[in-house]
Amino acid sequence: MINERNLPILATLLVFIMLYGFGMYQYQGFRDTLVFSNLLTDNAFLIITAIGMTFVILSGGIDLSVGSMIAFIGVLMAYLITNTGMHPLFAIGIALVVGVAFGAIMGVIIAFFEIQAFIVTLAGMFLFRGLAYLINLDAVPIDHPFIAGLYDIYVPLPGRGGLTFIAMAMLVLLALGILIARRTRFGMSVYALGGDSHSAALLGVPVKKTIIKIYALSGFYSAMSGVIFAIYTSSAYPLAAVGVELDAIAAVVIGGTLLTGGVGYVFGTFLGGMIQGIIQTLITFDGSLNSWWTKLAVGGLLLFFILLQKGIVVWVRKRSAA
């Protein structure tokens, strides 16, 4: 059903198909499943972060702390595994609890002190990066048979590709995100909050509680992304994932979520993250273009989608006025 609500995500899907189609038409190698499965693996941490960000943006907020969170969680995990000899599963558990707790604390400050999410999460961004530095200044390898074991899990697909543990974890988290957004009372509250927080409050949505949960959820997803990133690189580095918050926001917007909140799909965010990955892959395949073209292309797409959203909003307003 085509209406103004899912027009952005249809545009996202179209861009995705066009870019992928262009790659398949232009390069022989693109037609193999290997490219697709690599896209899933290489962009897993970005997409996971962006899923959490989707909830934040759907509610009309923003979370700038996610990139630092990824680095902090990675360094924390490495410290727990290497210095205390803890089993990685426990380390991952502790890291996730810490991520959720920090997210919830930011949520409390935003909800109860009524300070803008933008500036609170900015402070969080400084804080997590700083905490990561406090634990460790250098890149350290995470060397543990369990992590290596996770890395080796592999489900071959037809062709040369296959699903890694990282890709599968991302897909599971994606499914979880879609379920939370679509099938839970909390998900409905998030959409209501982003549509109009006043009306939402009048309709009985627990505004403060929902806000805290949203940032805790974003904390969970970015912590999870930190874990995945650490497995992906088998190392931890306090300067890792600088600027990922912007890539995540870009993925959400390119995925068709309205930046003013209230409208959007978690699945769109997945497409948004994949589109960024395809652009990068296309530039790598081309070989003659430099990596900065990725930034330009992503910036251009961002502009296109924001203008598209604006156009739709104006169009809808005109139509309902007529």
Binding site: Q116, G124, G130, L134, N290, W292, K295
Partner: protein, 350 residues
């Protein structure tokens, strides 16, 4: 009683100033020789001067940021604009035989174009400022790298060297440039109607439009001003290291600039802005950074300390906290002397 009133009235102004003095005094007690200034070859030297020297790029950016925040906006792209203008400065100096003034004009011009771009997105297309400036923030470093072709371009020019590290009348030239820019901005914002209009737009767009203020043009010009300031800062930063680094020039500077404006007591929701206090905010941040470095604490404490201070300031500034605190305060007073409660109510709420 009179003194009390004075304190109350200027509470907002005094808080950042006192914090700055406090931080300087604490640092001075930890680090011997922190306050000492000496003159070598007619140049002033010392930690305090070093703070001024290092604070100039942030101060310029914060000046533009304060005006933008006054219109209820935000400019995330300043770091990228710094990279672009630095790249333009370096590439034009190396690849063309333009005279220096033309190079500087071109660099400032790119800043103005960047500001125009942001301003048009915000005021004509009505895109939220965070998002509109995010586009240039993401793409800007790509543009800068395209200009430098991915290299760190180093250059040599006597005039630019002077801007980066030269001295005039005992003070670094860049400090003079910043002082000139600050004075000019304060003059325009406080002695002409422009400042009032900008704050009016930030406080209430619709009301200001109804009294006949051309809101769109004002918002547009705020972003152009911010772009201009960022470009100026970019030229100074490039001149300082005699090169343009598209990846790292001005990295995180937008955050320091926003922090300075917030430390000065401005609300991110627009309205009143405090230009001179913003500069005090910049000095607080720079003094903290220098203090952490000179006190022998590892440099990595820098971010944690900064983040803690921002959070503390934000929590103190929050209207909720004030309401809450004054609530407790009132209760105590009421319990103490019921008769005086009514007059106290007046003064605490003021």
């Amino acid at each position: 009683m009179k003194k009390h009133n004075f304190l109350h009235k200027h509470q907002k102004t005094l808080a950042p100033l006192l914090s700055l003095v406090l931080i300087i005094l604490v640092t001075a007690s930890i680090t011997p020789g922190f306050l000492s200034l000496r003159i070598v070859d007619g140049h002033l030297f010392g930690s305090l001067l070093d703070i001024l020297h290092r604070a100039t790029p942030t101060a310029l950016v914060a000046l533009g940021m304060a005006v933008v925040i006054g219109t209820r906006g935000i400019d995330l792209s300043v770091g990228a604009v710094i990279a672009i203008s630095g790249a333009v400065t370096a590439v034009l100096t190396v690849n063309t035989d333009f005279p220096v003034w033309l190079v500087i004009l071109c660099a400032l011009g790119t800043g103005i174009i960047c500001g125009l771009w942001n301003g048009i997105l915000v005021s004509v297309f009505n895109i939220q400022p965070i998002v509109a400036t995010l586009i240039l923030m993401v793409a800007g470093r790509g543009i800068a790298q395209m200009i430098t072709e991915g290299q760190i371009v180093t250059f040599h020019s006597d005039v630019l060297d002077a801007i980066g590290n030269g001295y005039f009348l005992a003070f670094p030239i860049r400090v003079w440039i910043a002082i000139g820019m600050i004075a000019l901005t304060v003059l325009v914002m406080r002695k002409t109607a422009l400042g009032l209009f900008i704050e009016a737009v930030g406080a209430n767009v619709r009301a200001s439009r109804l009294v006949g203020i051309e809101a769109r043009l004002l918002v547009l010009s705020a972003y152009v001003f911010s772009g201009f300031c960022a470009a100026m800062s970019g030229i100074i930063l490039a001149a300082d290291i005699r090169g343009a680094d598209a990846n790292n020039a001005g990295l995180w500077l937008e955050l320091d600039a926003i922090l300075a404006v917030v430390l000065a007591g401005a609300s991110l929701a627009g309205g009143r802005i405090y230009l001179l206090l913003t500069i005090v905010g910049v000095l607080i941040i720079q003094t903290l950074t220098t203090a952490i470095l000179t006190s022998g604490l590892p440099a990595q404490y820098n971010l944690v300390v900064k983040a803690t201070i921002i959070l503390a300031v934000l929590l103190i500034q929050s209207p909720k906290t004030r309401q809450w605190l004054s609530g407790i305060f009132l209760k105590n007073k009421n319990a103490g002397s019921a008769g005086k409660a009514s007059t106290d109510k007046g003064s605490t709420r003021a």
